[in-house]
């Protein structure tokens, strides 16, 4: 469903991604693993149209999206949960959620989507009239995911949801991601926490210094000596 072909991405003169290619099939749970500064966030931002690749192309269901503005990419069915959650702090939980559904298609189904998100995260229903900034870290992460789901995406991009979360809220987030995936949403998760990443992943890409250095099924990656040394620490 998503094909990234040989993209090169720059910040000014600085090259951040070097010929990166990646595929995500419909229904999959794919994890992009890599350390800080490897280019994971850059890759997600390029997919969602916030950055333009200098060369290469990105296709979604066969259609090129790498020249589209971000809101068009959301309309096509890709939603992005940013690193650090990036909620709208001075707005209520409900307002944050509704903002996720102001694309023309999603707006028609806003009631259903809201119900779906509330059923997934009952705490958000309870806190719907609270300002987003008053939520706990875990609740904020749920709101960020809920907000991204409001546009009814086919592909959900998540950037380091574990940042600032303890193990228990993070387990909850992983459970929710499994559930979302079962409901038919494809997941591309970016993580540097290998433990969480491997819990969810069916397939893994490894990004280092802006290049994909390894990829394979979860089991292949777990057995890979190089990866064991660098990431799993055994």
């Amino acid at each position: 469903m998503l094909e990234v072909n040989q993209i090169n991405v720059f910040y000014g003169d600085l090259q951040a991604l070097w010929g990166v290619s990646l595929r995500v099939e419909e229904g999959e749970k794919v994890v992009l693993l890599g350390s800080n500064g490897a280019g994971k966030t850059t890759l997600l931002k390029t997919i969602s149209g916030l950055l333009r690749p200098k060369s290469g192309e990105i296709r979604f269901f066969g259609e090129r999206i790498d020249r589209l503005p971000p809101y068009k990419i959301v309309e096509k069915g890709i939603s992005h949960v940013p690193e650090g959650r990036r909620l709208f702090p001075d707005m209520t939980v409900l307002e944050n959620l509704m903002l996720g559904a102001y694309t023309p298609e999603a707006e028609k189904r806003m009631g259903d989507m809201l119900e779906r998100v509330y059923n997934m995260f009952p705490i958000l229903r309870e806190r719907r009239n609270q300002l987003a900034e008053t939520l706990s870290g875990g609740e904020q992460q749920m709101l960020a995911i809920g907000r991204a789901l409001m546009s009814n995406p086919k592909l959900l991009l998540l950037d380091e949801p574990s940042t600032g979360l303890g193990p228990i809220p993070m387990e909850k987030v992983l459970n929710v991601l499994e559930q979302i995936n079962k409901e038919g949403v494809t997941i591309l998760l970016v993580e540097q926490n290998v433990h969480y990443a491997l819990k969810l992943a069916e397939r893994v890409y490894l990004l280092e210094n802006g290049r994909i250095v390894a990829s394979g099924s979860r089991d292949e990656i777990v057995k890979d000596e190089k990866i064991k040394k660098a990431y799993i620490g055994i």
């Binding site: 992005h80 940013p82 990036r86 709208f88 546009s151």
Partner: protein
């Protein structure tokens, strides 16, 4: 001897000046909040709004208040042009470019106004000029009452738009986190343009009201821009409430300064208050954080 009644009369003048400032500053603040552009050409939109209403009222002999919608339309369209042909192309680049672009717009609009209406000072002819209503023992000009009521209506409509409507909420989302707004599908270019349109509309109302109760000349825009900027810093960058409260405070302060100290003190007192607030509370009256 200065009677208590004259003190209150000056207060009313201050509030009226504050109304014009509030219309100018809330638009200036909205543009800064959403797009981070410091629109130094904003005052020109007020001047143009005033002249549109002056021109049409003189041309047709009709009540100038009838032409407020046209003043709104013209200022709003020019504001959209500022955005589309100018700020949109250079947004995110260094602030200095925005400043020079705005100065360019300022001169273009000023010269256009001089060509069309000459350099003379003008007053929009109002049929209510000599009419007063006595409120609690004070004479209030009908035009002054219209200014206060008109400003209140426009600001209430503006708050409703920003707080309650879908488009207002999207504008707030962009102001709170532009990138996150893009990620969830907000068309930020359209929101930026809307922001300029709304700010221009409020400037148009401000100009049409100002033209009646004060006077117009083609070079007044820059002074209004500077006051709007001062008020927004005074009230807290990005806070619309701060802009409105700051406008009223500085309007009143300026009128008292003029009354007690003389006309040349008007700006001196406004900037003294700005310096005072910057020392005591650098984020401004209603500014959040540091």
């Amino acid at each position: 001897m200065i009677g208590g009644s004259i003190i209150i009369q000056v207060l009313v003048w201050g509030i009226i000046l504050g109304c014009i400032y509030a219309l100018a500053a809330s638009g200036f603040s909205l543009i800064f909040g959403v797009t981070k552009v410091i629109n130094l050409a904003h005052g020109e939109l007020i001047m143009i709004g005033g002249y549109v209403s002056f021109w049409l009222a003189v041309l047709t002999g009709l009540n100038p208040y009838l032409f407020i919608p046209l003043a709104v339309a013209v200022s709003s369209v020019i504001s959209i042009v500022f955005y589309s042909l100018g700020f949109h192309k250079i947004m995110g680049a260094e602030k200095l470019r925005e400043a020079f672009l705005a100065i360019g717009f300022t001169y273009v609009i000023e010269n256009m106004a001089v060509l069309m209406w000459k350099e003379d000072t003008r007053v929009v002819p109002s049929p209510y000029r000599q009419q007063f209503i006595v409120v609690g023992g004070f004479n209030l000009g009908v035009d002054q009452l219209i200014t206060i009521a008109g400003t209140a209506i426009v600001l209430l409509a503006f708050f409703f738009f920003i707080m309650k409507t879908k488009w207002g909420k999207m504008a707030r989302a962009v102001s709170q986190n532009r990138e996150a707004a893009m990620m969830i599908g907000v068309n930020v270019v359209r929101i930026d343009m809307l922001t300029f349109a709304v700010s221009g509309a409020m400037a148009g109302v401000g100009g049409a009201l100002l033209g009646v109760i004060l006077y117009l000349n083609p070079y007044m825009g820059l002074g209004l821009t500077i006051m709007a900027f001062t008020i927004v810093v005074f009230g807290g960058m990005g806070s619309i409430l701060g802009a409105v409260v700051g406008a009223i405070i500085l309007g009143i302060a300026q009128q008292y300064a003029v009354f007690f100290l003389g006309g040349e003190w008007s700006y001196a007192v406004a900037f003294a208050l700005l310096i005072l607030i910057l020392v005591l509370r650098p984020q401004g009256l209603f500014g959040g954080g540091g």
